[in-house]
């Protein structure tokens, strides 16, 4: 049946806005006599707001599940993803602006359009209904992130960007190979066609399994899952801190949302085959993340391993391979995003002007120097450790109970044990902040408005921990994938 072409570009209006404002930003950077970060910020923030509004408008959409000739999905799952990602982007933009105002030598106007482009790739990937679109979106976000990582031109930053790029290019190739395999299995790259082909036994199962493995490897790279996590600590450490925060929260969210859609839709008929696979990856990821986090003496590297660890927990929820697990994973992503953006924001403010002081020793006696930062950092660390009343607790309860319900209790046991190990890691920072005396009175960042910005994720972590019901209902509605 030939579909009549319809004008449905409004289904990707959120991406259009992000891309449009990014281009405006680029034009401004190119033609303005003197680049002003405030103009950039205004443009970029407007882009995120417009995109959020456009995404929100799609919440009540009830037309066919796919649009743009079957290339993108229109469902609440993608709306959820877009709103989450755009919020992360907005906070990161604000924090980034402060970062540049501290040291104008580091300032590059391209930061703003690049963040928007990366966000566009991320939001697109959550809506992709075809593996080709997934790949395109993946490349948009990856390329933007490579540049953002190396943007300040410091040595560590450049090295990180290079590393990220080389490994990322490799993983893209693997991913593309996976798409080829998927196409080989069912003669189509559309997720719906894959699902139909594989459930009706018309597709070639063994080639499809190869596709599962390769695609999983590709996603694992982006989501920082072991054994594809090697880049994470170096890149997190080398990248400018606001970029790290953005990357840790948003990339993970985008990668997982795409993973959920691809595996729970396209490869849903092969559930029995891929669940053991992610079971193993989840177990290894949690163990490696927790154990290596113990050995770190740099806060950004520590948070990088913590991000690996948390990716493992999200995967634990996904082993349930049902809507309960998806819901758990989605909630975890929101909780983790707020926590991670906030934690890296604190790291940014604590590291003294200009150079990145990110050794754990910098946190000695922080409670005395900046009680507010110490307090919200504690909240974020409690959330990472999964201790009530922070959001991380409810998130962990959700993923663990989803996995238990599916009978994966031994995986949950590993999760429980690694969370104790991890608690030690986070605790060490709390000890430094509250129980040690400050070494010296290093130059401090006392700006007020970035603190006000950080109050948003802090409040989010607290609210999600105390009254998770406010968002769980929406997540419930969004956890149904339409295809």
């Amino acid at each position: 049946m030939i579909k009549t072409p319809v004008f449905d570009v409004w289904t990707i209006l959120p991406e259009v806005f992000l891309g449009g404002f990014a281009i405006l930003g680029l034009l401004y950077e190119a033609f303005a006599p003197r680049s002003d970060r405030r103009v950039h910020l205004l443009l970029a923030i407007s882009g995120t707001f417009a995109s959020a509004a456009a995404a929100y408008a799609l919440w009540t959409y009830s037309g066919p599940p796919t649009a743009m000739a079957g290339m993108v999905n229109v469902d609440r799952f993608s709306v959820f993803g877009r709103l989450l990602l755009v919020s992360i982007a907005a906070i990161s933009l604000l924090l980034g602006t402060h970062y540049f105002s501290r040291d104008t030598k580091l300032y590059r106007g391209e930061f703003y359009p690049l963040v928007l482009f990366a966000t566009m790739g991320m939001t697109l990937i959550t809506a992709a209904a075809d593996l080709i679109v997934v790949f395109l979106a993946l490349e948009i976000l990856s390329l933007s992130l490579y540049v953002l990582t190396g943007m300040t031109g410091r040595r560590g930053s450049n090295e990180a960007a290079m590393k990220y790029f080389l490994l990322g290019a490799f993983s893209s190739a693997v991913f593309l190979y996976g798409i080829a395999m998927a196409y080989g299995a069912v003669d189509s790259t559309s997720l719906a066609a894959l699902a139909h082909g594989l459930s009706g036994q018309t597709g070639n199962q063994s080639i499809a399994l190869l596709a599962v493995v390769l695609l999983l490897a590709g996603f694992s790279f982006k989501a920082a899952l072991v054994p594809f996590h090697m880049w994470t600590p170096d890149v997190y450490q080398g990248a400018p801190t606001p970029v790290t925060g953005f990357m840790s929260a948003a990339t993970k969210a985008a990668a997982f949302l795409a993973l959920i859609r691809v595996f729970d839709v396209a490869f849903q008929p092969l559930t029995w085959n891929w669940v053991p696979l992610i079971w193993v990856i989840a177990a290894v990821t949690m163990v490696v993340g927790a154990v290596f986090a113990v050995a770190q003496s740099d806060i950004k590297r520590m948070l990088a391993y913590s991000s690996i660890l948390n990716a493992g927990y999200i995967l634990v929820g996904l082993t349930a391979a049902n809507s309960v697990g998806i819901r758990a994973g989605m909630f975890y992503l929101v909780a983790y995003a707020a926590t991670s953006v906030g934690a890296f924001g604190v790291v940014m403010l604590v590291s003294a002007r200009g150079d990145e002081l990110t050794s754990l020793d910098t946190y000695r006696g922080l409670a005395r120097r900046s009680p507010f930062l110490a307090a919200i950092m504690t909240l974020f660390l409690l959330s990472l450790a999964g201790i009530p009343p922070a959001a991380g607790f409810i998130a962990k309860v959700e993923v663990f109970s989803a996995a238990l319900h599916a009978g994966n209790w031994s995986l949950v046991l590993i999760g429980a044990i690694t969370s104790v190990v991890a608690a030690f890691v986070y605790l060490r920072v709390v000890v430094l902040m509250y129980m040690e005396e400050p070494d010296g009175d290093g130059e401090r960042d006392t700006a007020v408005w970035p603190r006000a910005v950080l109050a948003i994720p802090a409040l989010g972590v607290l609210v999600l921990g105390v009254v998770p019901g406010v968002i769980l209902k929406a997540i419930d509605a969004a956890s149904v994938l339409r295809w």
């Binding site: 409670a367 409690l382 201790i387 009530p388 009343p389 607790f393 409810i394 962990k396 309860v397 959700e398 663990f400 109970s401 238990l404 319900h405 209790w409 949950v412 046991l413 429980a416 044990i417 969370s419 104790v420 608690a423 030690f424 605790l427 060490r428 709390v430 000890v431 509250y434 129980m435 040690e436 009254v467 998770p468 019901g469 769980l472 209902k473 419930d476």
Partner: protein, 515 residues
Amino acid sequence: MTAHILTITTFLPLAGVIVLLGGGRNLSDQITKLIAFLTTVATFVASLVIVGRFDTAVSGFQMVEHAAWVKSIGLSYLLGIDGISLWMVLLTTFLMPLAVLASWRIEKDVRRYMLAMLILEISVVGSFVALDLLLFFIFFEALLVPMYLLIGGWGGERRVYAAVKFFLFTMAGSAFLLLAILFLYSKSGASGQATFDLRSLVSVAGGLSAGTARWLFMGFFVAFAVKVPLFPLHTWLADAHTEAPTAGSVLLAGVLLKVGAYGLIRFNLALFPEAAKYFATFVSVLAVIGIIYGAVCAIMQTDIKRLVAYSSVSHLGFVVLGIFAFTRQGMTGGVLQMVNHGLATGALFLLVGMVYDRTHTRQLGELGGLAGVTPWLAGAFLFAVFASVGLPGLNSFIGEFLVIVGTFSVSHWFGSLAAIAVILAAIYLLWSYQRLAYGPVHEEHRALPDVSVREVAILAPILGLILVFGVAPRLLTDKIQPTTNAVVARVHPAHAQDAAPVLPPAAAPAEGSAP
């Protein structure tokens, strides 16, 4: 108003938290302390209302408050109280103002200290009244953080080590607890909406196979055994007690350890009665080892605070032994002992703190002759020592007596061994008092001041209650018994047949009289 008395009692300290947070750094230290004190006193008054409304005719939960909290995961705000938790709440709210008073000389970061105290009170009271398993777990986990900060921020020299050890031990235990809770929760989902409601989970747990129930029992047990602490999971306790500031030790011993013992009764026995019977001997052996081992360790200590800490291991062993005898006397005695230990050991820690404030040492070798220098302080110390030893007429006697009687009827061995420990307690406590109060006075201790008005205000209520509950234990047992009888009837119906009263009828005076 009184319909929500449990909520009010639990969250009243929040008012103090808000005032302290709102006041910011404008509040002087004195005002901060005063606010914290008044808040805790108000909480105590609120908890008295609970006692007033308590109906002894009901053996189950009373004053139940129920509201959906997170509907989609079946988490509810469910509070209720029975004869066991009633006294645990009271003990907490009673000790709290005293602990605040005992912290009057804290000068470092007073506001943060008092915030930690108030948040601690919320989470402890909350864990005693929560009947939703996840809600309980939330309070149970939340109480770690303020206690951790109290030990680590205001403790002694090795405070950081002690705080981290305390946190990790408890956290490791509670990881298994969470796992077990979630397992039960996922089982409850088989018939409709999954729930964390203790009352419905009791029937869910009843439907599990014996093997599964035993595993889950262990999941709960490990978490609470760490908290109690039961041998061999007790090693965090000596460090935490020793390094914690006085108020921290008082609350650790007085209240936090009780959360563990309370959890054993409330959750392990209620949810898995069969598994509890299966493991009864195992647990009793651990308890007896703890009783003897704690006492022996206490004898060997030269640090008075560490000595009291080890005596806690021994005393809490009594509690667990009594509980796991599954007799009416044992169970009642165990609960009674929880309250009594909170008062007696709380008093001891307060007194040790007062001695330390004066002499700046806790080493028994560097103390001596205080009875001559500070007679009132030494007198109070002796009183608390007697209470802790279990002198008839003071509170601990009845509890220990009931535990031993209740255990003896089940196992002569356990009963006899526990009785020996009473003698050991007399050795280490009286010997330490002798070294502290008699003998030559150290030169620099000659001019020490005796108890101040503030210290009298701290000691008078707690020592008074020790006497009152020693003479009239029925004040406590009348409310405890209906609940403990019901628990015994559920776990070990055969033992519940015994019609003899746990304590002699009301008219008869309690054993012995005050010295």
